[in-house]
Symmetry: C2
Subunit: 199 residues, 2 copies
């Protein structure tokens, strides 16, 4: 969101800005365009993709599908060491939620979901989730500001871990789907407040 949706980018501009040549910038933009965060218009320019509700719906469904599969697998087998590290992550996140520390809470969020995937031996799937997560993070960046939202987040994480500890796949899947459903609450609000970010 440092470059808001709709921003026109130029390989040359970014190159001079970061004091590198155009080529590595171009390669980075190609990677970003594969994810869908930017849109390269041949011979015309590059723009930061605007948020589309239709796109967000599909992105959410995809993430829900993938992360549901992850927690289901987590109920079958889960690495003990990683299970231990999750408690620390949640504690950090809970503390950050009390203090309203946005940076820490989002970093811990990534760590949490990544730990779930790694513990369930689903690192490749996590790589896919990362791509769709990038889109959802843009919306969340605009919403996750009040401490109530943060507290809810931590509670939902706890519910997911509890279900995995109980080796209850259905409960875990439900908790995960519920967790990822959260964005649906915020989306209309963001659309109303920042219509210029949407297409």
């Amino acid at each position: 969101m440092e470059f808001p949706p709709g921003t026109r980018l130029s390989e040359g501009e970014i190159a001079t800005r970061y004091d590198v040549s155009r080529q590595p910038v171009r390669e980075a933009l190609i990677s970003l365009s594969r994810i869908g965060l930017v849109q390269v218009l041949p011979q015309r320019g590059t723009i930061v993709t605007r948020i589309s509700t239709r796109h967000m719906m599909q992105v959410r469904i995809a993430r829900e599908a993938l992360e549901s599969a992850i927690v289901q697998r987590a109920c079958e087998r889960f690495d003990g060491v990683i299970r231990g590290s999750i408690d620390a992550i949640l504690e950090t996140q809970a503390r950050a939620a009390c203090e309203g520390d946005y940076m820490t809470i989002t970093a811990a969020d990534s760590q949490f979901h990544a730990a779930l995937a790694t513990g369930a031996d689903c690192e490749m799937i996590w790589q896919m989730v990362l791509d769709v997560k990038a889109h959802m993070d843009r919306v969340r960046h605009l919403t996750l500001q009040d401490r109530d939202s943060m507290r809810i987040l931590v509670e939902q994480h706890r519910a997911i871990v509890d279900a995995i500890d109980q080796r209850d796949p259905e409960k875990a899947e439900h908790a995960m789907r519920h967790h990822l459903m959260e964005i649906l609450r915020d989306l209309p609000r963001v659309l109303a407040e920042r219509a210029d970010y949407f297409e």
Copy 2:
């Protein structure tokens, strides 16, 4: 599979081979490395990724999760025009199966799955599926040779469409999962026959 797993690639070689400069080749390889089909070793070289059973397992799970979500959504709403085109695709595929026409059958397979996604308004999800499908297609390329396998494929496609026509999400999901499970039968055989393609 024109460049078998394990093949050492060189930006320069490919560039002269296709009579372009190194830069577009390099950008293509970067895209392929994002999908995981090639592995770029900085300052050392680029190799076509070997097939890993662990990776294939996760890839299969991911695709199953995504395409299950697609057919479930397809049971809720499905575009009528696209529904019509599917019959033609399946007919083409059935004919190709009788003749043992590998090229046509795989092309129709892609069209079928893509049509499902498009009809269910899940084109973004289909883009994700394409990436994982590339990995599975490498294995299938080694297995889908006998006509029995081809006939099974078409029947499974029909079962999926039938379930969607009946608006039965559970049946559709089951049919899709069963269909994507097929690769598990072939994987051990391929591993035994072409161990050099695996890591």
